[in-house]
Symmetry: C2
Subunit: 504 residues, 2 copies
Amino acid sequence: MRKETERLIALDREHTLLAHIGAVLGWDQETYMPEKAVDERAEQLALIEGLAHDKAVSPEIGELLRKIEGAAEHGQTKLEPAEAAFLRVLRKEYDKETKLPADLVIEMARETSVSQAVWAKARAGNDFAAFAPHLEKVIALNRRMAACLNPAAKPYDVLLDLYEDGATEASIGKVFGAMRKELVEILGKIRSRPQVDDSFLHKPVETEKQEKISKLLMDALGYDRKRGRLDTTAHPFTTTLGGDDVRITTKYLVDYFPSSMFSTIHESGHALYELGIAPGPEFSGTRLADAASMAIHESQSRMWENMIGRSKGFWKRRYSTLVELAAPALDGVGIDAFMRGINRVEPSLIRTEADEVTYGLHVILRFEMESALISGSLAVKDVPEAWNAKMKELLGVDVPDDGHGCLQDIHWSMGSFGYFPSYALGNLYAAQFMDTMRREIPGLDAAVEEGRLDVPLAWLREKVHAPGATWLPGELVKKATGASLDPSHFTAYLRRKYGEVYGF
Amino acid sequence: MRKETERLIALDREHTLLAHIGAVLGWDQETYMPEKAVDERAEQLALIEGLAHDKAVSPEIGELLRKIEGAAEHGQTKLEPAEAAFLRVLRKEYDKETKLPADLVIEMARETSVSQAVWAKARAGNDFAAFAPHLEKVIALNRRMAACLNPAAKPYDVLLDLYEDGATEASIGKVFGAMRKELVEILGKIRSRPQVDDSFLHKPVETEKQEKISKLLMDALGYDRKRGRLDTTAHPFTTTLGGDDVRITTKYLVDYFPSSMFSTIHESGHALYELGIAPGPEFSGTRLADAASMAIHESQSRMWENMIGRSKGFWKRRYSTLVELAAPALDGVGIDAFMRGINRVEPSLIRTEADEVTYGLHVILRFEMESALISGSLAVKDVPEAWNAKMKELLGVDVPDDGHGCLQDIHWSMGSFGYFPSYALGNLYAAQFMDTMRREIPGLDAAVEEGRLDVPLAWLREKVHAPGATWLPGELVKKATGASLDPSHFTAYLRRKYGEVYGF
């Protein structure tokens, strides 16, 4: 390895250490910090973020990158694949941090701080008109940002690429287009059938019992608690405080115990990914040891939560233990009724509460609207009408007010455009990984039924987790599955599963 | 305020933020951090300490200090008292951080790292000879350090001053000399009387019950849990994670519940001090908002633990609640028997387990030995013999081996000389504060009996806590009590209290 690369690794490791320190401060804030500490904690976080930013934009990084890139271009040096990948990741981050002029960064921070506050009030009061001028400004700032980062590309492509490296509106539009038609059709079939009963899932289960169930599930998944832990917060999340310190949180709803159960599996899926990243000791603690993308991250949480955690094979040998631990909530409920209950589909207004089938439709709606807003083909004032029409078209539901409609998500007020697709792409990646795994490991389903979850985990670690950010998400899926991302894996999975649940 | 001072305040606040961030990392490490995260956490801590050091030794601080000091000296500027105090504190810290040559700092770090490891093994194996050459080196390094910091002063004076600003061997020797004679005499009286029974304190009390007792005590003391919290660790401690975030820990011994009870009161005393420091908003978050000294800190923990927490007035209205919460451990034990039990005196080999009467004798022994070691009048090879002779003279006990003798404390192996006196000075300050409080607040004892602990707390906040590091400890005690430190307050308190417990 070139000595310039070695120096870049050392610089990048300090940046990672600062990011992890920030994560410790953030985790503590959400879990155990006393109430009145909040103001100084904000200052502490701002200081660490400032220091991390200073490290990330150090001119030394720019000079070293230019030097190696120049030598490689002129054929004076040959880069190892991992070294080349590290330099690609670092270059992208460095450009992102340095190409935006300071006044734009400051304006974005100021405007999104205001627009988030306005959005929260507007959502509560169903007052889209109050939010509209701020949405206008945030969109304009996003267009400026895209132009700074890559003036040659379509603005929405630049924004998508920030979250899903290498993705474009066309590439995502293609897979979402195929998925859209299928999901609408599957949903139609489900709606033609009688609804399943899940009333038993709403019987009270005390917090202590739910905590036991969550810890059992973490252990079942092979989440090493010497490298992580479970706590409770208002909103469940996963956070990386160190290469050997990835923690999750959950929330216990006494009247709906599946919430903590599946959020624990979901977050454990994220944690297993983070803990499995291992692009080689030379690159530990660098950004090459980060996730490939947000969508790949979601593929891991959703695979464990839905494709494994909501499958009959997973519960076959565990269900009796669950019945005991949740007693008396599931007394007299057979495993088949339980399976139908936890896989109930019900079109609803709110994305974050959506099931596996309708979730993708919520995301497609946002993707189509974001694209139109950034290109200018949709005017901000027309957002509520367009939103409500799409909800009717895709999900068949009537939106009663903007608080339950176009004002429900915080993302746009935060200045995030291009993030939503990751949520749905995760499902698609997950189904394609599952099908490949099943093909390559003939005994996979039997192993899962026997409780040997180390079998799928070992495959995922090798094919998906270990490389970290070595490959672009599009390259990763090709290397792991032999093909480009293909939404038919996901829709075939839905047809199989929900055909059984709803009997069609 | 001069603009240079304002700049120094801004610089010092960043240093404090980094120190608090380090405290968050440290607290998490002791409480909730997963086991395997330890290596990276050490790197994170080293990074933060390095950044804090860089801030502390910034040449800008030196220049600003010189500028203001020069102007003040030539009568060109008049400093406000708080401003002058802040500059004094900053100057002392700056000198401490910058006057030591790098090679000495590195050698000290290297040697103490080795000597701690050797000490741990030597203690376990009662092998003083193995530790002796390292103790020699650490003493030599301490002498060099003292010579760098202040070549004109006696080396042990320089070391003492690091922990107790303004203290000298002569000033401490004077108060310890008076205390020594008294303590030996009081202990003699106690030993002439029948020992009290405390067997009921060893009855099992479950952890959950002890936790309830601890939380009740925190609330009773007025420790605001919106600005702090209680957790469990191997060794109890108090740590400041922010101006409004001071946390304590305790440890539950099922077979000796007074341990958690009094350690919670002790640490709450430290926390109340930290939370009460308020030298004015201009100086919040600076080193002027630090404690006056370690001894003043100990005065607060020991006053609450021993003088209030082990007094009959404190328990009068609370004892029945304790009996209920600890049931059945205290069933049939009256308050007078309980008071005798929790105030039992028993000379023992180990300082950290010592009671209020013998603790000071343990400290005097170390003070006398440190002084002799640093001056060279005691050779390292003669330490065990000198230790054992002093133990016999002061406490009347025979030391069976060096592990229970001169090898029991970690301090010397860590390079700390001059710290021990703080432990005993705390008791002396506390007794003098108590006597002054009682004189100034005629209803004090009645208020404590009624459970109104806000009465002593308000006095302490105003007289002791609020100034922070504004005054040297010696000045603080004069301002708060009208007199210099006088050990007779403490010894009179012991005579009163233990005369009652042991009936002499």
